[in-house]
């Protein structure tokens, strides 16, 4: 690591300390569970849809700061968005972290994860929740 803040931006530290949308929904349409076998991160994601939008979204999980903060940022960003929009944004996030593509404005706070692309060992941590939400939106 070049520097601590390379990987652990202030926003990431804030979300890992105070995760948003952490917990479970009383009623939901989709539930996805996913693990990152290389490090054992686990996430369980619940989504409630209404009128083609993500009405509500919550996650529970166990894992490193990167994976948990990323899940928290994801839920905050996608809650209330149109399903197709959410699909596009999550693809943009995965492209940015996996292939090092330049961050786009749509990603808002999630842009802080762009530095993770320089740490191949941590890419799976950062993208876990986004792969989970893609799965929830796809079928």
């Amino acid at each position: 690591m070049r520097d601590f803040s390379d990987l652990y931006a202030e926003i990431i530290m804030d979300h890992q300390k105070h995760p948003r949308n952490f917990g479970t929904l009383p009623i939901f349409d989709k539930e996805v569970q996913m693990t990152n076998s290389s490090c054992g991160d686990q996430i369980s994601l619940q989504v409630k849809f209404e009128d083609g939008k993500i009405k509500d979204i919550k996650f529970k999980g166990m894992g490193c700061a990167i994976s948990m903060a990323s899940a928290s940022v994801m839920t905050e960003l996608l809650k209330g968005t149109d399903v197709n929009e959410a699909k596009r944004i999550s693809s943009e996030f995965i492209e940015m972290v996996t292939n090092g593509k330049a961050p786009v404005d749509d990603l808002k706070d999630a842009q802080v994860f762009s530095g993770v692309s320089k740490y191949p060992m941590r890419v799976k941590c950062a993208t876990l929740a986004w792969h989970a939400v893609q799965k929830a939106l796809s079928d």
Partner: protein
Amino acid sequence: MQYRLGSEVKKDFPILSTVLPNGKRLVYLDNAATTQKPIQVINALADFYKFTNANVARSAHYLGEKTTIAYNDARKEVAKFINADQDEIIFTSGTTESINTIAYGWGDENVSEGDEIVVMTSEHHSDFVPWQQLALRKKAHFKVVPLREDGTIDIDTVKRYVTSKTKVVACAGMTNSFGIINPVEEIGHIAHKSGAVFVVDGAQSVPSMPTDVKRMDADFLSFSGHKMLGPMGIGVLYVKKSIIESLKPFLTGGGMIDEVKNDSTTFACAPDRYEAGTPNVEGAVGLATAIRYLREIGMEGILEHERDLLGYAYERLSSVDRVILYGPKNFEKRGGILSFNIRGIHPHDVASILDANGVAIRSGHHCAQPILRYLNVEFMATARASFYIYNERSDIDVLVDAIEDAKRRFS
């Protein structure tokens, strides 16, 4: 010349003078994953290609003979190192291929429905999955021996698990997760009393302590070059002479045949018949050079050196708040591996913050998920610092400071 371990051997390892882009000096404590290579080994690899390289055991020309001699000498060096005969030594790509060679070559021929295969909960996946898969192929029972709370093996439990139906007992010489030295001689005795073969995974123990296959009475012993100063991609499978001809070749093709006809082939004698294709001669030469290096510094002193570092790390870390240390407190049963966690911080984050301080450790499940699950380790993962001949107490001081930094950052 007698080397002093630690600072005096460090100068032989060019990579250990690495300075990270942030200006921190590298402190390499990930030796259970792979060790660094001394200049002697690096030069041996370059010299092989500068002065020796040809195909082996095929070409009757100057370089061909030189290569064949170098390969045979490497086999002799390995054999001497573990008190075996040279025709009991098969070169492989590493421990994983060695154990698969046993599981397919011996296991498929000798294990049948209803038989039992016994392994320890603490095995590395490479000494676990091939046996589990063999059991599934053959409808045999795969029995996993539970451990004591500190991760050590209880001999009486092993006795209960091994029965007259047991065909294979597999056990690591030293576990890669917690560095526990297993009582292999006693386990081998139990295996043989029941008529089972005894397989030792030496990947972690062979680099750190003298190994004598006759004394441990192993039928099979496997280890990897890269964990003992040698190159990656070279490993060893020792098979006891009395059974080595009974393995079915796992790979067939060039170099392992006696005579090939259109409808049948007879195979060469062991060990050639188990080394199909052009072998990794460069790797064998590098491994032999690593063994000579280790012999010169003295295998007897390595474990003692690792234990000194382990004891020092243990002493310093046991007083650090929030740090959980795994494994037995009796260091007589341990090599230089210290698995730990910092309460409330995931080991991957610990590893990244230590990295920012220049300290290289491993984090994760260490290819040993069964033991972490069995002991209910937080996060199903640990941070792991592992020591080798070139580490010093000052490396551990940097580790402890880095751990304090991690705690501050994640307070």
